[in-house]
Amino acid sequence: MTATVAHPEHVRPRRSWLPTTLTQYLLWLGGLVVVVGPIVPVVWASLWSTPLYEAGGSLTLANYGDLFTDAEWWDAVRNSVTFAVLTTTGAVVLGTGMAVLFTRTDLPARRLFGGAVLLPVAVPGLPLILGWAAIYAPSGYVTRWLEENTPVPIFWDLYSVPGMAMLAVGIAAPVVYLLVRGSLTTQDAALEQAARTAGATPLRALVSVTVPLLRPALLNSGLIVFALALEVLGLPLILGSSRDIDFISTFLYDRWLNTSPPEQGLVSAGAVVLLAVVTVLLVLRDRMTGDAARFQTVGGKATGAASIELGPLRWPLFGLVGVYLTAILVLPLVGLLLTAFTTTLTPFVDPWTVLSTDHFRTIVEDEVFSRSIRNSLLVSVIGAALATAAIAALSVVAHRSSFRHRGSLQYVLLYPRAMPGLVSGMAFFWAFVVLDPSGRARASLWAVGLAFAVRSLALGYSAFYPALAALGEDLDRAARTAGADWWTSMRTIVLRLLRPAMAVSFVLLFVAMLNDYDPAVFLVTPGTEVMGLTMLKLWVAGTAGPVAALGVIQVVITFTVLGVGRALFGVSPRV
């Protein structure tokens, strides 16, 4: 033996202060408690004769009985389902069409369009709805202008179920577009080329080979859109309320907040029904598409597939896509801006003559508005940071450990996606009621932050997981054999190398939490308002200008953060 091994003493390597198994159990339990835990009290509340904060009460099915005999509930269900069907159909047709058009044809500016069509995913939902209302509502700018100046008949009514579906299609089509494009670009170009060599024209090859192969992607995206459409709250609340069109969400919202005494048992029962339906839909989707599609990454990828020459249709189609994007995105955003910066917005008054920053001044001066912004930023920064840390820690337990129950963690991380925001808000409400009768925790901003963070777990996980999976396991194995215990090898190697993925996750979570509002409906107390909910409440109360100004601020923050995230870490939109 030479001097090179003359280190006779075997020093025991440094150990983390918590034993590995205990660390893993604590993380697992923590995840389970915040994700699955809150569902227990909702179900309990739906089966209890009195609200959980009151003494007494007994087990009962009466809440479900009341719900199912309530004619308004069935009206709401009918509206929601009609809306969801219309939205899904429209989004699938449009999304697929655009995906094929932008990836497989020689459409002019297809690359630019391909990027622009994704913007509605990034634009916060409420400001976009406000913009649509300002432009396309019966009293909206474009509607009135067309009525006054052209013979074009107004064929839409934004305040109807099909009208709302029209808007929803604009927001949901990019979801379909992303998934279908992913499937199109990963398809082997040789399949289509084989059809070409067999004598098929490019169009024929596309229709008979490529499109049938898209079926899984269509089914997948269709189910997501349908599930999202069933639980949507902001849209019917803003656009449907003037005509008393109730969706499932607004029905629950009204019965909780605007009925005296509040029918909390019945609302809990409705929430449980909604949760069950959405869960079944998403489980169905996972069954049909498998794990691979769940983590579909969406990055532009060069494809060698033959492109179809559109011929004389080239420019007309270019025009059509241009008009579509202008109509669903550009005009509403302009509408939002004008509403925010003018005292009144109508075609009868030149907007330039009524320009003002009054609405923004209102925001600065009104305590509720400025507090909302502060609260929202606080919740998003701290919440996104904590949620990212939680996602990273839970992911390494789920995928990089020999922990006994690691398999269940993946579901814990993904389940929040199946939870409608309204339901998760109610779940946390009841959880706080049961655990903290003093109500102090519920009245703090932490309650809202926690609900937002849990809701966004699945989004962060879907951004984080591909990077984790791509990191070779030998790297942490090498650390283990070098003497590092599990947590040390995770901390010094795996999580250290995944910092960029954590940054991406943080950016996405920040934006999601900044723009989230439905879980806050049941949790907000004076002093803990967040931007989205303030906009919703004040709009319903009839205040347009300052709400639009708040929307502009939200859009600006969102785009700035996303832009910085894209420049620094390559953040891309995901569904």
Partner: protein
Amino acid sequence: MSELTITDLTKSFGATLALDHVSVHARDGELLTLLGPSGCGKSTTLWSIAGLHRPDGGRIVVGDAVLFDDSARVDLPPEDRECGVVFQSYAIWPHMTVAENVGYPLKLRRQKKGPRAARVAEVLDLVELSHLADRYPHQLSGGQQQRVALARALAHPPRLLLLDEPFSNLDAKLRERARTWLRDLQRDVGITTVFVTHDQDEALSMSDRIVVMQHGVVRQVGSPEEIYESPTDLFVADFIGTINLVEGQVVSDHGDCAEVTVAGHPSPLRATKTVPGDLKGTVTLAVRPEAIVIDPRPAAAAHFNVLTLPVLDRAYLGDHVRYRVRLGEGTLTIQTSTSVSGGELTIGLPVDRTFAFAGSPRDA
């Protein structure tokens, strides 16, 4: 002292048995190679030693330390096993410099900065990478990365060095050099080493002893010469090098030697038995192409089966010539340096290098 003793190691993945009562012993300071086709259980054995796979049963002991013992419920985590592992992918941490990679095991053991730097320098010197200490892994070639992995594995002197196909990512020329280099280094350091490979040249040229595995079973353990010259198992004979396999029937069994008839050939052939015990029924005769002698001297006829056989074809390969001749219903390949012409060839199959194994060639 750090000898490795593996006893009755078993492991199954679902319905497949990856390790079937594997017992292996490595002497102190020895380079022991686990050799076999993919899926034979060699990597599973290595990872079980390192603690990266949990076997279902058995016992692993290094020196006086029990790493794993199913019956005594001992299962040390990898970090407590003191094994230096070089992974097939090298697994160099990309966010650390060469020196940081090598110093990591020492840092974990709270070694002070001064002694740590000294030790890192010492080990890097050993693998001839001192000049690259401050580089990052992406600035290194494959061969250099591999040496960093080795330096890291040796930094805190391990009880055992485990190498998982370390050369498979190197190009052919570099591989040759790396083998010699690693062999010399291992001898210098004198550390007990377990080496996993599917490359028989690598195994033959580097090992003190070789363990040949197939389907989770140890087929033969022996020095490279033993494994090549006297395989005790039909699979080993076929897996290592090139060998002629001819099916036959036992006519008589004389203890060490058996007489075997080959279908279509008139006289029986004498062959050496590889395992004691009676041999009967269908057997496989195995003889290496280079063991066959052309025109053996009549005086030595007792040591040979002398046959005159029709030549099927002849291939000139520079330093040797390869003939194919017809033996009964099959063929024999002969490798020789003498070039002969004519349609027939008189050859001698040396009795001591013609082996008889139970079973037909299809069982190989």
